[in-house]
Symmetry: D2
Subunit: 358 residues, 4 copies
């Protein structure tokens, strides 16, 4: 209710401030008897860590996960799984001069107005670091989904004005993790990387678009009319800090299409009803069709830029000019890929568990 | 939990099939002592009704709302408000030949796969007619919001390939309801209307984009980290049948912007911290800033078109060709305006009530 | 959230004021494909109606249920089932003189303090008549449970100081519905009936104890640690208007027992682990054992008595003496039996659906 | 949803197994700006620890709480407060011989049947040790309540057959914490203590009754019709491991009373409507009246006794005789007092926050 929990049957509650003691998550509703280890979680956390110099933050967190409950002899008990990651490489000094400043594009202003108190160090609760907890929980969801033949696959499709060409699922699998921007169009990937470096040089940042496919999702997931599968995906993805838009299937292109172009023709293949195209993104009436579920998110350029910006001192209520220094990502898209995958995994698993009870 | 309820403190539960006895909604959590009458609801329902011949469905529902509980002497009691609209102009005959057919782009297939049983008449529960209940509930939410200086304002910004020019809030107020397509750019409105008529002529349909402004939203609404105001708006809007995408503020344009373009510069006006631009769409870190909340939805072209389509008989598991006849909208955008407004109103009110408890 | 809904997967939302237009309920989460008719509901509603002259209220409601949605061709669709009962025999005149009076033991005072407005006619929303909706929803739950071999069986075990002897399940089945007080100890039943008539004569009322057995409940229902099966039963039963206490199994007797008396010895029967006694009431650690689930509720004497009582006029803030006239039950226990059964059925079904998803 | 969370606006999620790494809790919804320290929590945890030799367990847990998030400069941030207590004095050896045995009266059987896997050491998740987390969360709730003049006060009113005389609130305040059994009737307390020691001598255990008063609760808390204040209290209290019954106000005595005895006469005092007696336990129609809220719980004798008991080996499916050794409480009532207080505090605070939003 207070907003730090997500999911109905597979429920995730995250906690932690960026420069506090630790970041953590409690996962409730994990089926019992699942083999699970810290390595399963660590693998996903490592994908989220800052990567190649020049295109991501230089914060050096080990981000080693500890599982504190819910496991016995290497298997899940069906009881809550509590996980945490200690905050180790914390340097709050760059934040001291900014402690009363509302950085443009950040949550400083709104946390100040809502709570009247905030942990200004590293963004506090509003920091992108909160996604550590999401990725940890998502790692469990992904493991369960994989055991049922469902795979979640994310990649970058645009950075700034550079759009990757349309790629196949096979190309995503083969290439997305092979380069620093997580783009499966290798030629575009190079230009994207150059664009990010250039942005950094000029004290700027750039946005982009991330796409996630959920493969192997069975038909029948989704609860009409408000808890449609696409509605919950939209919420899950929009709840990621830098996301300003969500699309399912054809998305905004649908607004320019005619009915005969948009409608996916139906046919029968191997005794199953399928669609020739997938403009619906695998969802009709809020319920999965059995085709791949496809969604995309618009990721804004990170707000922390070293260019001078007009801002406000919230205590003195004066206008000021600031430059945000510190270790920031000039483009968050590559690191958002595992986060977006995690959120999609949480939704699909939750709806899978809901559907299984029928 | 089973998907037919929305909202935490102002909770709406809808029920009803398109060709069943009635459509209805129970609103729980309405503050007591509010003056309320059936006229308040009827006004909004009338906005949702099929409109000008040639650009909308010809179903002739009186859609007269009845309030069955929660009122005493013209005021709300704080108890559940039950409302219903009887289904009167029901003609199920056009659906008989299609009863085993999965119409492309419709929920026929997924309801069949999920439930194994469905009311095929008029789309049953998946019909757009379900939005009668949303609009009725939204009418109460709007009335409460208006009493606190919050106004929800929707309009059409694109139909097919035609994009309206950028308009001011004043223009929306003055012009949006003055024409059949609910577009505040009157010149574009004419071209849109022509486009819709042409689509109908050729047995086609067209999509578009609807924008909703929430004006007067106080700062501080939204519950991080999962229940961000934008996340809940995304869910609310994506839960409307034909919606394939949701944007907040700059939306997908943010993906092409640089940090210095995207960040809204802060300044002080009349003792309040404001932003020069509103690329954030009135939301930072999932919490309202006090600027207008702005969102847009991508609306797909209606699936029911009279052009021949490839489809499947789900009982016989054979491929067939169909033409969908009956009384359908060639473009749903104008009628979706009040529905989108209702969903935004429900979210904003719910979060307002959540914030007021602090 | 606002209190008029119950259940997570099988969710019931009730609405209606005693002297308003109607009483109703929306049931969300009913599995699809269940045969259901108004007769199934009516049967249970008839058990709740005022019965034998002299021991119950003389309000003559037909209480005919109408199902407005969720059914197609006699089967449930998996969509919300909306039911209502029109309020027909409404005579609000006896309530006019009491409209500003807080009747002792009633919710008049607290509704006044909480909402500042109330429908004083017939108790408004706080009326026992609200249980019509619970019984209607419970009827569906019972039908589903019965199809899985689970039966809910209620009876009266005490009225005033008269305690029935311990009876077997067979005796309850045979005798509980055979007499006006729903007591399976026929000899005690006669004395109870006399006690109730005597109370009425003197303008008094009497309380009692109702017991409910849930037979055939499989092992494994209940969600530790807060949503234990017994915890949810306690809430469900305590939410019935006149209930002041809830016991599971040995209940308050457990407070006087030694461990060796309380612990139910385990043994094996037909390949299943069973207990020799059932002091646990079929629940250990909040999870069903497979033995019958047994609970009891303390029902207070109805507050409406014709004897003079000291009270307060809430508008004038003066002390007054009142006599409550009108058509009231001198003892509510017999009519609470189907209500308590309904609440137990709702809990057991909800937990059954929760357990089935594993 | 999976049962390890409690509360809607002040939401508590607990985790941890008795012999796992730690016990913990995440508190979401705590208002911002509250001064809070580990000492505030520790004080309540210390009240829960095993006490005087001979009448409680000899497990020696330091139970030192660590706060990991949600605080900044000694004040709450309005973000989730994560707390944990490391499990230090863990000796699992006595549980090895019992690992396949279902101890009578324990959750061994039901966890085995429900999950197919369990942490048999020390009761695992079903251990009374889980209440560490409840007490830690309750300590925060109590601190907030106290700042608003609401105080939660628990004491023991019966042990085995020994019933304390009726005591005043002042006596409870003065005497309850002064003796090992937490009974405010000092004479009875001595006999109770002797009874507990005697039970221990003979390898037995005894039950009892604990009463909790919530003083200063304002009128208007509680959400009809299902989420009545008493209904939620019943759930909260019944969710404590050893509780088999819950009463509000007159409780089961109400079943033997006449209407004129049960109804609390109303009068006016200092401009406020009050009741002469408090049989209602401070709640009418599920909403607080402004009088003290009074509830009682029946606590069963602890299941772990050293007397021989008939039981079952769940793996081999054979009947066995067991004696449960280890460090167990012969009577849990004194240690349940702070747990029951915590649960009452959680409910009252949650409903206070719900009511404040109006």
């Amino acid at each position: 209710m207070s907003g730090n929990s997500f999911g109905k049957l597979f429920t995730v509650t995250t906690w932690g401030e960026s420069h506090g003691e630790a970041m953590g998550v409690v996962v409730d509703g994990c089926p019992p008897g699942l083999e699970l280890s810290e390595e399963d979680i660590q693998r996903e956390l490592d994908r989220r860590k800052p990567g190649i110099s020049g295109i991501s933050s230089e914060r050096k967190e080990a981000d080693e996960v500890k599982i504190l409950s819910g496991l016995f002899a290497g298997k899940t008990l069906g009881t809550p799984i509590s996980m945490l990651v200690w905050n180790t490489d914390v340097d709050s000094s760059p934040y001291e001069p900014l402690k009363d400043i509302a950085r443009p594009g950040q949550a400083d202003l709104t946390y100040h107005l809502k709570y009247g108190i905030r942990d200004y160090r590293g963004g506090g609760r509003a920091s992108g670091r909160e996604t550590v907890a999401r990725v940890a929980a998502g790692a469990i969801a992904k493991k369960i989904l994989a055991s049922r033949g469902i795979h979640i696959l994310g990649h970058v499709v645009a950075i700034g004005g550079i759009r990757a060409r349309r790629v196949s699922v096979e190309e995503i699998m083969r290439h997305a993790e092979s380069n620093a921007v997580r783009c499966a169009d290798l030629e575009a990937a190079k230009r994207m990387e150059a664009l990010i470096r250039a942005a950094r040089e000029e004290g700027e940042s750039v946005g982009g678009i991330v796409e996630v496919h959920a493969l192997g999702v069975p038909a029948g997931l989704g609860e009409p009319v408000f808890d449609k599968l696409d509605a919950e995906l939209a919420k899950a993805l929009m709840s990621i800090g830098a996301v300003k838009g969500v699309e399912i299937g054809a998305g905004f292109d649908a607004a320019r299409m005619k009915g005969s172009e948009m409608n996916d023709a139906l046919y029968i293949e191997a005794g199953r009803i399928r669609t020739r195209t997938n403009n619906a993104g695998g969802i009709l009436g809020g319920i999965s069709t059995g085709e791949p579920v496809v969604c995309r998110i618009a990721v804004k350029p990170p707000s922390s830029i070293s260019k001078p910006q007009r801002s406000v001192n919230m205590e003195q209520m004066t206008e000021v000019e600031i430059r945000v220094t510190g270790r920031h990502d000039p483009c968050i898209c590559p690191r958002i890929v595992p986060v977006a995958e995690a959120m999609v995994a949480l939704v699909v698993l939750d709806y899978l568990l809901q559907a299984e009870r029928r």
